[in-house]
Symmetry: C2
Subunit: 275 residues, 2 copies
């Protein structure tokens, strides 16, 4: 079985590491010359290939930004794939991907989003257990071919992933709340502190809480900018919901409504009962 991975960053590179034993041959494909060399040196893939490798691959993994995924799907629609080939994309937003996937390859595609990642990027950031015990969201599965569906799900199970089926539109809204907006919040916190005159003194006090809250602000600005662009409407809605809560808290503090503030915090506490 041959697996081609397009995109050798954190996601694609970690995927290569995790599926080493499942395939006879793992091919890495990337624009970036440095990434190709690193991926090979780090043993993330068996060899570096080209787009030509796609046509006889059994699995084609697209671990690149959403716009790139859509462009590659258009290229793939022009070539002949193996009959049972499955294309698995890891795009962070799913609606445009499922809508813009060319019809002639739609049944080959299993639109997926692994809820896994770190604040680091590039082949050097790849880790072998990135996917283990994480959630894999699979969108609009009814549009995938039966064989492709079975092949993808079996692979995710072998990776010990927890599969959740979801509508692409719903996924994008949820992802805004659980991931995209929290990145904006973390970047806002980092910016607020960095812009203080006495930032160095402030940071001498940083303990675990602040480190957790600012970790996402280590993320790659260019990559996240692309994600924010793709999910603009949902992102703005989720920022609005967050802003409303912050505003309430601020007003309760200003007006010494301490009992109300305590009740509001108790509501926040309940999150961990359902999570």
């Amino acid at each position: 079985m041959k697996c081609s991975i397009i995109g050798l960053g954190l996601m694609g590179g970690s995927f290569g590491l995790s599926v080493r034993d499942f395939f006879d041959e793992i091919i890495g494909i990337d624009h970036n010359e440095i990434h190709k060399k690193e991926a090979l040196t780090l043993g993330l893939v068996d060899k570096i290939g080209t787009f030509d490798d796609v046509s006889d691959s059994d699995y084609i993994i697209l671990a690149i930004p959403v716009r790139g995924i859509i462009a590659v799907l258009k290229e793939i629609s022009k070539i002949k794939l193996k009959k049972d080939a499955v294309i698995i994309d890891f795009g962070s937003t799913k609606e445009t991907i499922v809508n813009e996937c060319p019809k002639n390859i739609r049944k080959h595609l299993v639109a997926s989003h692994p809820m896994a990642g770190t604040e680091y990027s590039g082949p050097n950031a790849a880790i072998s257990d990135l996917y283990t015990n994480k959630v894999m969201v699979v969108c609009n599965i009814e549009k995938s071919g039966e064989i492709q569906k079975q092949k993808a799900l079996k692979l995710f199970e072998k990776l010990k992933m927890n599969i959740k089926f979801m509508d692409a539109k719903e996924h994008d809204r949820h992802a805004a709340f659980i991931s995209h907006m929290p990145h904006i919040v973390s970047f806002s916190l980092a910016n607020a502190v960095v812009k203080q005159e006495d930032k160095n003194n402030i940071l001498t006090l940083a303990a675990g809480g602040f480190k957790d809250m600012s970790r996402l602000a280590k993320s790659n600005p260019h990559m996240w900018n692309d994600i924010f662009k793709e999910n603009k409407k949902n992102l703005l809605d989720s920022i609005e919901a967050f802003k409303d809560e912050l505003k309430k808290a601020k007003e309760m503090i200003e007006n010494n409504k301490w009992e109300e503030l305590e009740k509001w915090m108790e509501i926040g506490n309940t999150l961990h009962k359902i999570m």
Copy 2:
């Protein structure tokens, strides 16, 4: 050497565990009957005592909320302490404590704030390495007696803590940015998600990033309410600084100013170069 710890929650209890080998006798003092029993069962202290134990203690640790610390200092000022006794308070804000400490015991007090903690509270949450390698902020040390200063600093060094000296007023402003405001932000995030109709579906997508961002929202509402009250002005200032950044980000997203947004994120990235 006798050490009395007033307050047997996470901070006092963990302190008891960490200093076991440094003292002949560790006495635990608390209002709460359940906490006293738990602290003894868990071996956080050698025995449970009363306020009378303070008068012949060499070290007196105040691990209770700020208002409680001020009340206890007033009680202590009425009794005769050992000549070289050192009182170490762990209050989350320092200005009111150093200002309101009765003059006759001021040289006994070393006003300190360990930058350590977890989202849990009570004796059951106590852990033996809570203080190891953490920052201990010591405020207005010039007002403490020389012997008391030496005794306190030696103890903190034995705990492998990283000591930082700071003015109490400055400490309170910094603590707002690094700890108090991030708690409000985390609670706002938790409330924003909990109040969504489809919160359960949203939370199926929660990965490491969201867990980190919402961890502080597990904290004890009553305890944090007290901290927010004490540091109201600084807290509001720091919320304002955060809100300004969030507003900027939202406007850049609304107006498709993606290049500007990327630059803004790059500023956030620099936090980790100085931290």
